[in-house]
């Protein structure tokens, strides 16, 4: 697959002196779905805005479809559709008009049939003649997507498309992303949710404090992120792991707890076998607890790995 967006050594320092992006380099492949995962303030929106030309880079180079976004901005921007994080819409405008406006703004001749198709793909056709201020929040987000798709972009940026969106709409959104991918559109989305990245992305980039910590194939990453811990509380204190339990990945916690680390995404977790073995070893259980590393913990883990 060829590279469609290339970011090289991108640094962004805002006017106040805050460094929101630190030497970020990233290749986005044509036709892929890339999820950018990161906590609040990580720099996801800044990265997207800089690629789209809304924010000027402090240093570094960005090309889109081989066109430098600063020198050859017109050709670069032709290819891009952007759905912003904030829902910003002209309140008095009609849905159909605002989508047509976006198409015109991006230099495309009027095509009402196409606009209707986009609206209908987003289940908005019946709202075409409604004012944007009369729509629900989820509908408005879809209008923003329709606006971004109105000029038939080859690359679509979705900045937290599913924030504050109900489960059903979230599934619709994922289905839409799938359809677009089938048409060969490259999709970059940002999210706070691992599950979301897992559900739709091909590759996942993790960004924290302005640094791109890693970009990896989803499957490889999910294995690393899918670690779960089972904490076993025993009725009696334990000093040593019995011989028969050595084959399990167990560690002794304080006094009477054992911790078992396993891969929750794997075919077999080994839990059943472990419980059997515990019984055979004559240990009685007081309590069981499972714990999945939260995004924050994973970030901390990644940052520490990064530093090491």
């Amino acid at each position: 697959m060829s590279t469609v967006v290339q970011v090289e050594g991108l640094t962004k320092t805002y006017d106040g002196g805050f460094e929101a992006l630190k030497n970020v380099s990233l290749d986005i492949k044509e036709g892929e779905i890339l999820a950018l995962l990161g906590p609040n303030g990580a720099g996801k929106t800044t990265l997207i805005s800089t690629i789209c030309g809304i924010t000027s880079p402090t240093s570094g180079r960005i090309t889109v479809g081989g066109h430098d976004v600063e020198k050859n901005w017109r050709a670069a921007r032709d290819l891009i559709g952007l759905v912003p994080q904030e829902i910003n819409l002209e309140p008095f405008e009609f849905v159909g008009n605002t989508v047509r406006f976006s198409r015109g703004l991006f230099g495309k001749p009027r095509n009402d049939a196409f606009v209707d198709q986009v609206l209908s793909d987003l289940s908005l056709l019946d709202k075409r003649d409604a004012r944007t201020s009369q729509l629900s929040g989820g509908m408005r987000r879809r209008v923003l997507i329709a606006k971004a798709l109105a000029h038939e972009p080859r690359i679509l940026f979705l900045d937290e498309p599913t924030a504050g969106v109900d489960v059903e709409l979230r599934r619709d959104m994922w289905a839409l992303v799938e359809r677009l991918r089938a048409d060969g559109v490259t999709i970059i989305l940002t999210t706070h949710y691992i599950e979301e990245a897992e559900a739709i992305a091909d590759r996942i980039g993790v960004i924290n404090s302005g640094e791109l910590l890693l970009v990896e194939e989803k499957d490889a990453l999910m294995q690393r992120l899918g670690r779960k811990e089972l904490t076993i509380e025993l009725s009696q204190p334990i000093k040593e792991i019995p011989e028969t339990l050595k084959e399990f990945n167990l560690t002794i916690g304080d006094a009477n707890t054992l911790t078992y680390v396993y891969d929750a995404t794997g075919e077999r977790t080994g839990i059943t076998r472990l419980l059997g073995a515990l019984q055979e070893a004559g240990l009685t259980l007081a309590d069981l607890q499972t714990h999945q590393s939260s995004l924050e913990e994973i970030f901390v883990g990644l940052v520490q790995e990064d530093a090491a």
Binding site: Y14, D15, C52, G53, I54, T55, S56, W73, R74, A75, R77, D78, I80, L82, P84, E86, N88, L89, E90, P91, F92, E93, N97, R100, F101, S102, R103, G104, L105, F106, G107, K108, P109, R110, K147
Partner: protein, 253 residues
């Protein structure tokens, strides 16, 4: 050139005008009619002719200028300020459209709107006073130049303003006084010597004077100077707009 983009902005802005047609047209026509009644009929009947023109007719060019100036600034200023305020400006900034094209769209629409209103007021004035236009071509040229250059000024203010108060401040504190003191309702030859000299520093004087010349063939300052002044003002505004886009001033972070 991204003409579809220019047209999209232009049409969007014009739609706002027609959406609020009552506010856009009725209110300037009404206030101008009031000026005619008060200044033209009531007070004007006691004022002698100025340079061979009845007072009621004399104020017509000034009234049109007053409205065109205010409308140009207001329309262009609001046109760019509002998307900045509600955040929809991101779309324009991320589109394959140059700053020049953006200006053509917003400023063009604002200028057309204010010219339309100017012409409507001119039409209204025929109901009140007897006027003829000696140099229609110059009249239109002045109208276009004024509308465009003050729409540029409004555009600058719209980008500069961080609040609605700021957006209204300059027109209120600077432009309106300049218009009233720029000979809209009198000939500066009626002023004492000192104030005539001071008035020469008021750019609006050159506009009103030139515009009035196109109606009656008489003016406070030579017509060439009027033209030069408008062109100078327009190019100053253009330079500021160019600089704003070049540096991303208050548009990009």
């Amino acid at each position: 050139m991204n003409w579809y983009g220019v047209a999209a902005i232009w049409r969007f802005e014009m739609a706002r005008f027609f959406r609020s047609i009552i506010q856009s047209v009725v209110s300037p026509v009404l206030s101008t009619s009031l000026y005619f009644v008060v200044f033209g009929a009531a007070i004007g009947s006691r004022i002698p002719e100025i340079e061979g023109v009845s007072y009621g007719a004399f104020i017509v060019p000034g009234l049109i200028m007053l409205t065109v100036l205010q409308q140009s600034i207001q329309n262009a200023g609001f046109g760019i300020y509002f998307p900045k305020f509600i955040g929809t400006i991101f779309e324009v900034l991320s589109a394959p459209i140059s700053s020049f094209e953006i200006v053509v769209g917003y400023v063009g629409a604002a200028a057309v709107k204010s010219m339309l209103i100017g012409l409507i007021i001119l039409g209204t004035s025929f109901f009140f006073v007897d006027i003829s236009i000696q140099h229609p071509f110059f009249m239109l040229a002045f109208l276009v130049l004024t509308a465009v250059s003050f729409a540029l000024l409004g555009f600058i203010l719209g980008i500069w303003a961080r609040s609605f108060e700021q957006l209204n401040l300059v027109p209120l504190l600077v432009v309106t006084p300049l218009v009233f003191l720029g000979g809209s309702f009198y000939s500066i030859s009626m002023l004492p010597e000192v104030w005539q000299t001071v008035s020469k520093f008021n750019p609006v004087l050159y506009l009103v004077s030139g515009f009035r010349w196109s109606f009656f063939g008489t003016s406070d300052v030579p017509i060439a100077m009027s033209l030069a002044a408008v062109l100078l003002f327009a190019s100053a505004c253009l330079s500021v707009v160019w600089w704003m886009f070049h540096t991303g001033y208050r548009l990009k972070s």
